[in-house]
Amino acid sequence: MRWMSLTVPVDHAISAPPCLQVEALSVRFGGGAREIAAVKEVSLRIGAGECLGIVGESGSGKTQLFTAIMGLLPQTARTTGSVRFKGGEMLGMSPTDLNRLRGREISMVFQDPMTSLTPHLRIGTQLTEVLMLHARMDAAAARQRALQMLERVQITRAGQRMHQYPHELSGGMRQRVMIAMACLCNPSLLIADEPTTALDTTVQAQVLLLLQSMRRELGTAMALITHDFALLAGLADHVLVMYAGRVVEAACAADLFDAPLHPYSAGLLACVPRWSQARASRLPSIAGQPPDPREPEAGCAFAPRCTRAQALCSQQRPELRLHSSSRRVACHYPHDHG
């Protein structure tokens, strides 16, 4: 039942603990009647060098999940479960120990490059401070390394950029800086939270290619969070589909794209526009809204929007269970691609 079996060949899994192993992670805000569960009992695993895609609508808890893993949630949030990085438990770690991992072993690229860089500090300062802190480099060595990294992410006139402020750079340029910043210490795990959402389409592709090549060269494992299935094609090894704070389907990327089991995954995939579609036909969409997180759960959270829902769906919540050798799905009536 461990979902080890579906991520990496077994002989790999025995030799070393996975890069990231999350067990039954839940995140709650508030208390009593106003309690909101943003993430519910999510388990996942990312092997060394692997890329895991996490897909879901806004509010599905995908960002909260990784914010919790990084220990970046506000103090009002309560996180339960287990997050093990290379075998070591991260939940409840002291801030000092956490800071030894963050930025060095695990780094994160955020959605909005416009607001995610400190506006009054030069690019160079924001890059070198990571190296001076984690790699104990002196200013000159850090500068050298930061320059290399900027060139590595294809930033032109890197020496000049080091002296510039974030607002003097374009959005795509800033996201490259974010990626360079995240990769400075050769992290084992890179979390990219919707890294291309705020960017132009042409720049999106460049940034994705860049992430891909950084991952290949540095052997970094990656968690790629997105609401856009199309981004994951050719990037992700495995995909988690999240809905209303829960994982509803977990599969190897190729399987999921070919034959989604959960009606929600199928719906999301159908929403990706294709050139082959007739011009006149309407783009498919999933009707309805995600559930209010303050409402108590009864049955399957997706049931009200699901075309396949039956009486059972609104009464009993489907558990995430093994469907076939390498796939898991939380649905009473999954698509049958027999």
């Binding site: 801030p95 994160m108 909005d112 607001t115 995610s116 860089l117 400190t118 009054h120 401070e129 802190l133």
Partner: protein, 308 residues
């Protein structure tokens, strides 16, 4: 940057000129004159006085003469403080007022910002709430209530400090007036700092800094402090104005021989030249403060630097 500053500096002079002109004519519109006493002067004496001070000339001639004087650094004789020129009066009182005002400003800024930061870091714990409640009292109680109260406690009951008065070179006489003048802007600055610091600490770039594994100390001083101070910089000019007006009251309650009394008494006595001199001093100070705030803004947020 330097060009921007030079252009702002160049704009200061015309601003001062406009203020000067408007004040000159406004105070002449006010009924009465410097020599109107309870008992009316004999007509001949009044005429002689007016002639001696040039008040018998048409207004625009007086204005022209006054401007020429100011251009040469001469603010004219006081109408009421006989035997003193306005320049003499101001240069006697200014050091006292400047000491009082700049001490109050510096203390309000430094302590206010520190308290604001501490409160933000203790957000929603009792330390934060106690300090912010105290700050509301500090904002609402004006200096002229605070100073007699302080004088009563520390001067009359405890006898630690002089109740009022002044001796040249005595620091003890400054303590209570400075505290009374400091507390209201200090309270306001601490609330301002707390609110903006809380907002900054929730911003995406602080999350980035945390994700980089930076210790809280570096996050606070390097990444959060400068953006959090932008609203405080915006409050500086109003704070200086508040301290100026506050010092009028505080100086007269505590008997400090500053320039504050000249503005009030000058206006009441229709001491035209004295009022004009005070207006020039205060406006020049405020204009300079505006310039300083601009420089400060540019340092706090580089995005402002390039929008010139």
């Amino acid at each position: 940057m330097i060009r921007y500053f030079a252009s702002r500096l160049a704009w200061g002079l015309p601003t001062l000129f406009v203020i000067l002109t408007v004040t000159f004519f406004l105070i002449r519109i006010a009924p009465g004159g410097p020599f109107d006493e309870e008992q009316t002067l004999p007509a001949q004496i009044k005429r002689n006085l007016d002639a001696a001070y040039g008040l018998d000339q048409p207004l625009w001639v007086q204005y022209g003469r006054y401007l020429r004087g100011v251009a040469h650094g001469d603010f004219g004789p006081s109408f009421k403080y006989k035997d003193f020129t306005v320049t003499e009066l101001i240069s006697q009182g200014l050091p006292v007022s400047a000491t009082l005002g700049s001490l109050a400003m510096a203390l309000a800024l430094i302590i206010g910002v520190l308290i604001g930061i501490l409160a933000a870091l203790r957000h929603q714990r009792w330390g934060d709430q106690a300090v912010m409640a105290a700050a509301v009292i500090g904002i609402t109680v004006p200096s002229f209530v605070l100073l007699p109260f302080l004088a009563l406690i520390f001067g009359v009951y405890l006898r630690w400090l002089p109740v009022a008065g002044w001796e040249p070179g005595s620091a003890r006489h400054y303590v209570l007036p400075v505290i009374a003048l400091t507390l209201p802007p200090l309270a306001f600055i601490s609330r301002l700092t707390r609110a903006s610091m809380l907002e900054v600490l929730r911003s995406p770039y602080i999350r980035t800094a945390r994700a980089k594994g930076l210790p809280e100390r570096i996050i606070l001083w390097r990444h959060a402090l400068r953006p959090a101070l932008v609203p405080v910089a915006g409050f500086l000019a109003p704070a200086v104005a508040a301290i100026m007006t506050g010092s009028l009251v505080v100086e007269s309650i505590s008997g400090l021989p500053g320039i504050g009394r000249y503005l009030v008494q000058g206006a009441l006595n229709r001491d035209y030249t004295l009022v004009m001199g005070m207006v020039v001093v205060y406006s020049a100070l405020l204009i300079a403060m505006g310039l300083l705030v601009d420089l400060l803004y540019a340092w706090l947020d580089p995005r402002i630097r390039f929008q010139t």
